[in-house]
């Protein structure tokens, strides 16, 4: 192999192996020390690194799917708004729709708009021609606002979790409603990605805080009748909960999830849905 560089053949092989990641950590560190004081070695190293950096240009360029551009820009817009929203958010009582409409022009980004943005982004991500979904998103407006309100009151990590979920092209939003007399006013949202049940974000409101020996548990129902334990939580003093659940159990491949429900259980009970069902939503 010819070697027109100013380096010895041994040094050239050493630098080549370095940029190809073939040196041991010790040998790589030794070379890095030499490079700092040896201009010829450094020049060759930089040229070889540039050669590798440019190598992707040799590939025939693929056309990214056209919808990817929209997805990225929508997510960017959404994340910008989530991370820059600085309006103090009311906890309770919530403002009415008419009050929100009368907000003066030029004010800072209202959280309601962000919620609408989330819904719009989800519609985009999921395909806006799904009537049932659009209805679900419309119905979820209140829950979305709760989710965003909680999000804004919490730290950036929550924003990251939601934004990461939103980034996924198939992310979905499920609305949950109270089922019992005591929880008739409870409502909430579950954000998840089908097939990726390892991470779901739940935002619920108007759910009574439980005594210390009881806990809310969330369950996923499958089309084969199986029930999967998603996780447990309690509310804050105002009856709100914003929580990220990471279910241990996974959904068997090919089996569809059909619904979500919440029960009240004894905190020490085994993970079986034996307590009263208080909220539910269908997928």
């Amino acid at each position: 192999m010819s070697n027109p560089s100013a380096l010895s053949e041994d040094d050239l092989i050493l630098v080549e192996d370095y940029v190809l990641g073939e040196l041991s950590p010790e040998a790589a560190a030794a070379l890095e020390r030499r490079v700092r004081s040896d201009p010829a070695l450094r020049q060759e190293l930089c040229a070889l690194q540039a050669t590798l950096r440019l190598l992707p240009q040799a590939m025939p360029v693929l056309e990214a799917p056209p919808e990817l551009r929209d997805r990225i820009l929508t997510t960017h817009t959404l994340r910008s708004k989530i991370l820059t929203a600085d309006t103090p958010l009311p906890a309770t009582p919530r403002r009415s729709r008419s009050a929100r409409r009368s907000r003066p022009a030029g004010a800072t980004i209202p959280w309601g708009k962000i919620a609408v943005g989330i819904a719009a982004a989800l519609a985009l991500l999921l395909g806006a021609d799904n009537l049932r979904l659009r209805q679900a998103l419309g119905d979820a407006d209140q829950s979305n606002r709760e989710l965003l309100a909680q999000l804004d009151q919490n730290n950036e990590r929550d924003g990251e979790v939601v934004a990461n979920l939103l980034q996924r092209p198939t992310s979905r939003l499920v609305t949950l409603e109270g089922e019992s007399n005591e929880t008739a006013n409870a409502a909430g949202t579950l954000l998840f990605t089908p097939g990726r049940w390892q991470q779901v974000v739940v935002s619920l409101g108007n759910l009574d805080p439980l005594p210390p020996d009881e806990i809310y548990r969330m369950w996923l129902t499958l089309e084969n009748g199986q029930t999967i334990f998603c996780g447990e939580f309690n509310t804050d003093e105002q009856g709100n909960v914003f929580v990220e659940l990471r279910p241990d159990e996974t959904v068997p491949q090919g089996v569809k999830a059909t619904g979500i429900f919440v029960t009240v259980e004894s905190a020490t009970a085994p993970p079986e849905p034996s307590g009263e069902r208080v909220m539910a939503g269908s997928i």
Binding site: L23, R53, H76
Partner: protein, 188 residues
């Protein structure tokens, strides 16, 4: 700030993006989206994962703000970032599929300054690099591509091509050397 458009230089677009002008991201995506997607798809070999990674790369780029135009050309910066993340993803599925060995190249001073060719247009870069790689013998072109662009380790290449490991290593090194020599002063 002046109005930005398709001809606005990268560094101005980056400044604009950091100042909160979201149009800049669209223009940057139009410029580099296909390149990022191509690199991601070549390594991951799954379209939906390549799409996710393309999105991830652009959002990381927007959020992290550690790109310095005076130290790197944006096209190669995004390629390197994409390749690095794609290899990490490959590693995470390695238990089912294949082992990823030392594919993350050493990064000493990786971005100290863009080389002359990186300061040329993307079209010029493509033309010159494609010409240079076609001058390599097939054996070198194949192993260098498999190693660097597709994420296969030397031992995986040896196995796939039924070739002694030593020959693979030599071909990769010779291919890199010849490519560097062909590109000459364009890479410094």
């Amino acid at each position: 700030m002046e109005r930005i458009g398709a001809t606005t230089p990268d560094d101005e677009l980056v400044r604009s993006l950091r100042a909160g002008h979201q149009d800049a991201l669209g223009i940057l995506y139009d410029r580099y989206g296909n390149l990022v997607f191509t690199v991601a798809n070549r390594i991951l070999n799954r379209t939906h994962e390549a799409e996710d990674l393309t999105q991830e790369v652009f959002l990381i780029f927007w959020k992290k703000e550690n790109f310095q135009p005076e130290r790197a050309a944006l096209g190669t910066y995004l390629s390197v970032l994409t390749r690095s993340r794609a290899l990490n993803k490959l590693r995470s599925r390695s238990t089912q599929q294949r082992s990823v060995e030392r594919l993350q190249q050493a990064t000493y001073n990786q971005f100290s300054h863009p080389c002359p060719l990186e300061q040329a247009t993307l079209q010029e870069q493509r033309q010159l690099v494609q010409q240079a790689i076609t001058q390599l013998p097939n054996s070198q072109q194949q192993v260098l591509t498999m190693n660097y662009l597709e994420g296969f380790s030397h031992s995986e290449i040896a196995q796939q091509l039924n070739m002694p490991l030593g020959t693979v290593k030599t071909n990769v090194r010779q291919g890199l050397r010849r490519l560097r020599q062909t590109l000459g002063e364009a890479v410094g």
